[in-house]
Amino acid sequence: MSSISPECNDLKKTYDDCFNKWYATKFLQGDTTPACEEIFTLYRACIWRAIKEKNLDTLIADARKEKPFDTPDAGQ
């Protein structure tokens, strides 16, 4: 699956591979110590550059501020 920005594709692939392995072998087994931090920092920086170029940063910030719709049966 492509990234929003072609220049982030390689970083995204490396990060996704790292994350999927960590998620299956560590996180789900109870070891929630974060991993893949270095590659994520690079990938995230690349993505946020693209987000700002497309003026999506304010849309994302607004969506986060808006109170999410009430979750039915909270806690379920």
Binding site: I4, K12, Y23, F27, G30, L59, A63, T71
Partner: protein, 188 residues
């Protein structure tokens, strides 16, 4: 006016596998409308162990033909915020559109929980089939001022959503089946 919809489904796969498939869902043959997928933020709470993720998707073709002529809408950015709690085996994803919110805002909350069959609680039984319960809650709201168009958009949203939910489940199952093939030695 706001439209609500709640759907329940049971997935015949274990909760850990289902949540892995959620991360690896795209691409799949039932999601050709998804053009991009990115993780824009992700943290793990050191105390609770809960992982919070924000993903951004670009999807194409959100409006029917009659709507396109009115609103000039093409692709839409979608944001997904999620939490995964491995201790309680609960994953919640909340998805909403960032683009075209005035025309129609669709917020979908999906809750994945582990449904342990009674037979599995008995330690002597190891043949229990793992099941994941998926609950989907949708809220659709149109802020377009003109009432006839507004109700038509909301109606369209609901119909379209029901069709999309079916397609989305097929996509998830496809990914799950591919994952189990790989786990079984990748002979295929």
């Amino acid at each position: 006016m706001v439209q609500f919809l709640t759907l329940g489904a049971q997935i015949q796969h274990s909760w850990p596998n289902v949540t892995q498939a959620v991360w690896q869902k795209y691409p799949n043959p039932f999601a050709s409308h998804v053009l991009s997928s990115d993780v824009v933020d992700r943290t793990v709470d050191p105390v609770t162990g809960v992982m919070t993720t924000t993903r951004l998707f670009l999807k194409k073709g959100v409006m029917p033909k009659w709507g396109r002529s009115l609103f000039k809408v093409r692709d839409a950015f979608i944001m997904e915020q999620s939490t995964v709690d491995p201790r309680t085996c609960t994953m919640v994803t909340v998805t909403r559109n960032l683009s075209h919110k005035k025309i129609m805002l669709v917020e979908e909350t999906q809750t994945y929980t582990s449904l342990v069959p009674q037979s599995a609680l008995d330690a002597s039984r190891s043949d229990a089939v793992p099941i994941t319960q998926l609950r989907t809650d949708v809220r659709i709201i149109s802020n377009t001022g003109w009432a006839p168009i507004k109700s038509r958009i909301e109606g369209f949203g609901l119909t379209k959503f029901q069709a999309n939910t079916l397609r989305s489940s097929k996509g998830l199952l496809h990914v799950l089946e591919n994952m189990s093939k790989q786990t079984q030695g990748g002979t295929s």
